[in-house]
């Protein structure tokens, strides 16, 4: 769909042959508003929980501004509606908060975090349920296309975060990230996703995250903002990268997302 808009824009420009794009990069001095951005993804695998926290920087600043003085709480709610503090013990390294111990999340429980900033501002992620993982059945290469077939849960509308990593001799040479939902093909038990451009000798690692809607929306926002085309982006109102984080101190949506996902992965050499 996005490609269509590129064409539309090109056509608009071509059709009049008089449109122009002027570079104003040096002429603008944008206002700056410092905000906190939180990110993290908790899967069903037993692992350390990781949360990244940073501050935004001015638009022309290419540095990375970390926040290292935040207190983080990870909560869970089980089927009996009992709320449990999973952990509040995190070690900090350059804005990366790692839980002190490994966690084993339980499918069907909900999880969320609370981040208390130095100024007592509280940022909370929405409770998200840990969905079951989506098993990958096969990865088959035809020509330069690799088809990854997964088992769908037809009773639900699922939201997928899909990651393909292409490696050559163990070195990452290409990466693809996308989000999908299965609203178009809900009646099929098996669904497939394809990636092209795979050569002989490549290794493909496919990872599928069964995510909740708000996390899906967060990654969709991220991917939409990756576009670096000035003409295309002029047609749309830009979107902030928001997901499921709320500043509960002032009851406003905040930047970032802490997602909960059922995870599955398959790696295959071709």
């Amino acid at each position: 769909m996005k490609r269509l808009y590129i064409y539309i824009t090109i056509l608009v420009s071509l059709s009049i042959l008089t449109s122009c794009l002027d570079d104003l990069t040096q002429d603008f001095d944008f206002e700056f508003e410092e905000q906190v951005f939180i990110s993290g993804l908790l899967t069903n695998e037993t692992d350390f929980v990781s949360v990244q926290i940073q501050k935004t920087v001015p638009v022309t600043d290419t540095t990375f501004s970390t926040v290292n003085d935040v207190q983080i709480f990870l909560y869970s709610r089980d089927a009996s509606n009992t709320v449990l503090l999973v952990t509040d013990s995190f070690t900090t390294d350059n804005g990366d908060y790692m839980s002190s111990e490994m966690i084993t999340p339980i499918t069907g429980n909900t999880y969320w975090i609370e981040a208390v900033l130095q100024d007592q501002t509280v940022l909370t992620s929405e409770e998200e349920i840990l969905k079951p993982s989506i098993p990958i059945i096969s990865m088959v290469k035809t020509g330069d296309i690799v088809r990854v077939t997964v088992t769908d849960q037809i009773e639900d509308e699922n939201f997928y975060l899909v990651q393909f990593e292409v490696l050559k001799d163990g070195i990452l040479i290409d990466e693809f990230l996308g989000v999908f939902n299965d609203s178009f093909v809900t009646d099929n038990l098996e669904e497939f996703i394809e990636i092209d451009g795979i050569r002989e000798g490549d290794t493909v690692r496919a990872s599928i995250y069964n995510i909740n809607f708000n996390t899906f929306q967060f990654y969709a926002n991220l991917l939409n903002n990756l576009d670096d085309d000035l003409v295309l982006s002029s047609l749309f109102t830009p979107t902030n990268i928001v997901g499921n984080i709320t500043n509960t101190t002032i009851n406003e949506q905040a930047l970032g997302n802490f997602g909960i996902a059922g995870f599955s992965s398959m790696t295959k050499d071709f």
């Binding site: 056509l11 071509l14 935004t56 920087v57 001015p58 708000n214 982006s233 002029s234 928001v242």
Partner: protein, 897 residues
């Protein structure tokens, strides 16, 4: 009428002889009274000689008073002294003269002493109606909005949008004055002693090129006469005088030159009327609704000016007969076709050409019109290597058949077809194995209207209309991978309308007319996805909109009222599967708790609306008027667009379970003023509008087919207010107008959930909130052959959203943004100029031609459409996009025969 009641009494200077004086005085009064008693008979012997033909009663009274010692006594509010009378008497006495004068009249007289007292006859005067049509004498074309008035009187009516008029008056002789912009005013004397049908033909005031008529008319642009505020009327000839983009007269651009009308940017589709979204304009072509009014994404309007008779825009007072859209009505009437002789017209331009043929199939009985345009700039694409377009053109066709069956019946059948044909075939750059991509972005818009005008009685006029309208667009993608079978996917959306509208006008008196009727509109919204591996129809939606209305237009001496009431009802019909959401959370795919199945033709949700419309005008005199108005409008279908500009593939969505009807309330007040010779017209109008249930896309909403579109939408409310000033110059070698608008338009989402709110629920400027708007249009008649047209516009830059920071995630940099629309792009301005050369034609032939050439965007100002920023290779890039960033010369050859 001046009535003299005074008698001069001389007071004696010698007051000391009081007694004698009093005696004399008593005697004097006695004698005087005696004379008074005798006077009736003696003065009645005064003879009168008159020879008056179609003279006003006022002038006849004056002459009688001059010739006799009689004075008239009458009440101006009861006796219309402007009525026309004819009388021829030689040396007749008053009694005979009066009897003759008021024979067959509703006026009775009483002669007492030297006074003649006039009063309204107690016997109910017989009223008769004169009705018919006003047409162009050369073409037989009906003239809409022509004035039929009693000369030197305020009484009069205008022809309706079908050229029909009716005026009911007491028995008598009247001198009617019939006038219309660009035509010689005609006077017709009528002795009204029974109902009369009268077809009035007006002669164009210039006959060189009827569309290039430059004339003045006292009612040209005056807002004094119209009761409704905020109405604008444009004729094809006015539109053609404007400097045009690539030389093509453009109705949509002409509308944009009017006060209170703005757009997101030049070259974009649609217009915004007084802060309303573009979908809030009801655009009717011969009463058929149109959903896409632009070719090539907004560059050219779909309306062929050669086929258009008149354009009327209602943005303030909107009559009760219109419904279904909330902010304005753009009513476009096609010409009927010349009923006298065959006539052709056309134009050859740089990018496209047009041709119109019209004429009688049976003279004065059946006429036809066929008018078409086709662009051909795609023919030049092969010369430019970089353009991947395989097909890239547009065309449109207007047709009409008019059958004057008899004096009481006229049948019209009109059709319109427009299309963009865009196909792109491009090899994928960098694609290995030679994969390529083809894209189809075409759309079609077709309407068919059948109208029957029937005169039930001398006072009751009916227009019964049946309409079919269909708008369809495709987005097709063909992908060819590695010589395998093509993978084709086509998304198709169509909107169909079946409309039936009986409309009646009852002309009860010259001061009062009533209009009432019904309307029914059956909608079908059909999205389809088809292709190599899929062929499905998604959530086909059916809806029915019904309306009933009544309005009355009444004029008193200085006060005029146009009041109406419309009742509308809307239902969304199954078959449908409606999601049920957990009310404690925002509506998202993950908060669906179940589904409600709606059977075929079962109502899934219905709404109704009561829509009062009221306009009141107070005339200070015939050149100054003050107006106030109030409108409520409901809109049951919505254009869902996630871009700042409208594109042909935007989704139209009917109100339903989760999308409520849009409600707009507008209050307005204005003052209209004409100079003494009516050479200049001025108007000032202020308005305040509220909007409720506007549909906004949520931040980051997903595009494409979605069975639960409500999950991507959030309801909003808003307001707009503004002040519009306009001045028109109608006389002299230079004519034109200038207008200025100050306006504010804000929106505010009203979700119960903070995560859905835009700008955290605060008011924000709409995309087309452009507070200052100034337009200047001028035409200068240099000579008989040369004419210059110029246009200048200045507008505040539109709101935009700017970045206010950045962060890094997974090694990529991302921008963060300030509140939506909290900044503005630079103000825009542009000047256009055109020259029209009309050579002296060969008087022996009917061939007339003209050359039009000029410059669009004379000084090549780069008007920003947007200023936005992206991160490319971690570096910020900010750019200004100007859709038309250079002067665009144009030349076209126009002809008619």
């Amino acid at each position: 009428m001046k009535i003299n009641f005074f008698r001069v009494i001389l007071w004696p200077k010698n007051s000391h002889r009081k007694t004698i004086f009093l005696m004399k005085l008593s005697f004097f009064f006695y004698i005087t009274f005696c004379f008074q008693l005798l006077a009736f008979h003696s003065f009645s012997q005064d003879n009168i000689t008159l020879s008056e033909e179609n003279s006003s009663l006022k002038s006849i009274i004056h002459k009688i008073e001059e010739q006799t010692s009689y004075n008239f006594i009458l009440n101006n509010d009861v006796i219309d002294v402007d009525q026309i009378y004819s009388i021829k008497v030689i040396e007749k006495d008053v009694t005979e003269t009066m009897a003759l004068l008021f024979e067959n009249s509703s006026i009775s007289y009483n002669i007492k002493k030297n006074h003649i007292i006039l009063s309204k006859s107690n016997i109910q005067a017989d009223n008769y109606t004169i009705n018919g049509t006003v047409t162009d004498a050369n073409t037989g074309e009906t003239l809409l909005g022509a004035s039929i008035s009693i000369k030197d009187s305020k009484q009069g009516v205008f022809t309706n949008e079908y050229g029909f008029y009716a005026i009911t008056l007491p028995k008598g002789t009247y001198l009617f004055e019939i006038s219309y912009l660009g035509y010689t005013t005609k006077e017709v004397s009528i002795e009204l002693k029974n109902n009369i049908k009268l077809k009035i033909e007006l002669q164009p005031s210039l006959s060189e090129l009827s569309e290039i008529v430059i004339t003045s008319n006292q009612h040209a642009k005056s807002q004094v006469q119209s009761i409704l505020g905020g109405t604008i009327r444009l004729t094809a000839s006015e539109i053609k005088k404007l400097p045009a983009f690539f030389g093509e007269p453009d109705i949509a651009r002409a509308v944009l030159t009017q006060p209170g009308i703005s757009s997101v940017g030049e070259g974009t589709s649609g217009f915004n009327a007084r802060g309303g979204n573009i979908d809030q304009n009801l655009i009717l072509l011969d009463e058929a609704p149109l959903y896409n009014t632009s070719h090539l994404f907004g560059l050219f309007s779909i309306f062929n000016a050669d086929a258009v008779k008149v354009v009327k825009l209602y943005k303030g007072g909107i009559p009760a007969r219109f419904g279904g859209r909330a902010s304005s009505v753009l009513e476009i009437q096609q010409i009927n076709g010349n009923s006298k002789r065959f006539k052709g017209e056309g134009g050859l331009g740089l990018l496209f050409s047009r041709f119109t043929i019209e004429g009688p199939i049976k003279k004065d009985k059946v006429s036809f019109l066929a008018s078409g345009r086709r662009s051909y700039f795609d023919l030049f694409f092969p010369l430019i290597n970089d353009i991947p377009a395989d097909k890239f053109h547009f065309y449109d066709l207007n047709t009409k058949l008019t059958w004057n069956i008899n004096k009481n019946n006229t049948l019209y059948a009109s059709g319109f077809f427009a299309a963009d044909v865009i196909k792109i075939d491009q090899e994928e750059e960098g694609g290995e194995g030679g994969s390529d991509v083809g894209i189809d972005l075409g759309w079609t818009n077709a309407t068919a209207t059948v109208r029957w005008n029937h005169i039930f009685s001398s006072k009751l006029f009916a227009n019964i209309t049946g309409i079919y309208s269909k708008y369809k667009f495709n987005i097709g993608i063909r992908e060819d991978f590695n010589e395998e079978e093509d993978f084709v996917t086509t998304l198709e959306r169509s909107i169909e309308n079946w409309i039936f509208k009986p409309d009646f006008t009852y002309f009860s008196s010259p001061d009062m007319q009533m209009r009432f009727g019904l309307s029914g509109n059956l909608y079908q919204f059909i999205p389809k996805l088809r292709g190599t591996e899929i062929n499905e129809v998604y959530d086909k939606e059916k809806a029915l909109e019904l309306g009933a209305y009544y309005s009355v237009e009444k004029q008193w001496d200085r006060l005029s009222l146009d009041a109406g009431l419309r009742f509308s009802w809307f239902a969304n019909y199954g078959e449908d599967t409606i999601a049920i959401y957990n009310p404690d959370f925002p509506q998202t795919p993950s908060t669906i708790t179940g589904f409600r199945n709606v059977k075929n033709n079962e109502i899934s949700k219905s709404y109704f609306g009561v829509e009062p419309r009221m306009s009141l005008k107070y005339d200070f005199n015939d050149r100054k008027a003050f107006k106030i108005g109030y409108n409520r409008m409901f809109q049951y279908i919505h254009l869902i667009t996630s871009q700042t500009i409208a594109l042909p593939n935007d989704v139209w969505k009917p109100s339903g379970q989760y999308i409520e009807p849009l409600e707009v309330n507008q209050f307005s007040a204005g003052y209209a003023y004409d100079t003494k010779d009516k050479g200049y017209n001025f108007s000032l109008e202020g308005y305040y509008k509220t909007f409720d249930n506007i549909v906004e896309y949520k931040n980051g909403a997903r595009l494409g087919i979605n069975n639960n579109l409500e999950t991507e939408l959030v309801p909003a409310k808003g307001f707009s207010y503004g002040l519009e000033l306009a001045a028109y110059k109608n006389k002299g070698r230079v004519t034109g107008n200038a207008n200025y608008t100050y306006s504010v338009t804000k929106r505010k989402t009203k979700s119960a959930f903070s995560s859905e709110q835009i700008n955290n629920g605060a008011y924000f400027s709409s995309d087309y909130d452009r507070p200052h708007l100034f337009n200047l249009t001028a035409n200068y008649k240099l000579s008989k052959k040369w004419e210059v047209g110029a246009f200048f516009t200045y507008q505040t830059g539109r709101p935009t959203t700017q970045p206010n920071g950045r962060f890094t995630f997974n090694g990529e940099s991302y921008l963060t943004y300030a509140d939506r629309n909290s900044f503005r792009i630079p103000d825009t301005h542009r000047a256009d100029i055109s020259f029209t050369y009309t050579p002296t034609g060969n008087p022996k032939t009917n061939w007339k031609s003209s050359w039009s050439f000029g410059l669009y965007n004379v000084y090549g100002h780069k008007n920003a459409f947007s200023i936005n920023s992206v991160l490319e290779d971690n570096e910020l890039e900010t750019g200004q996009i100007s859709l038309i960033g250079a002067p665009i010369p144009f030349i076209s050859y126009n002809f008619k025969f």
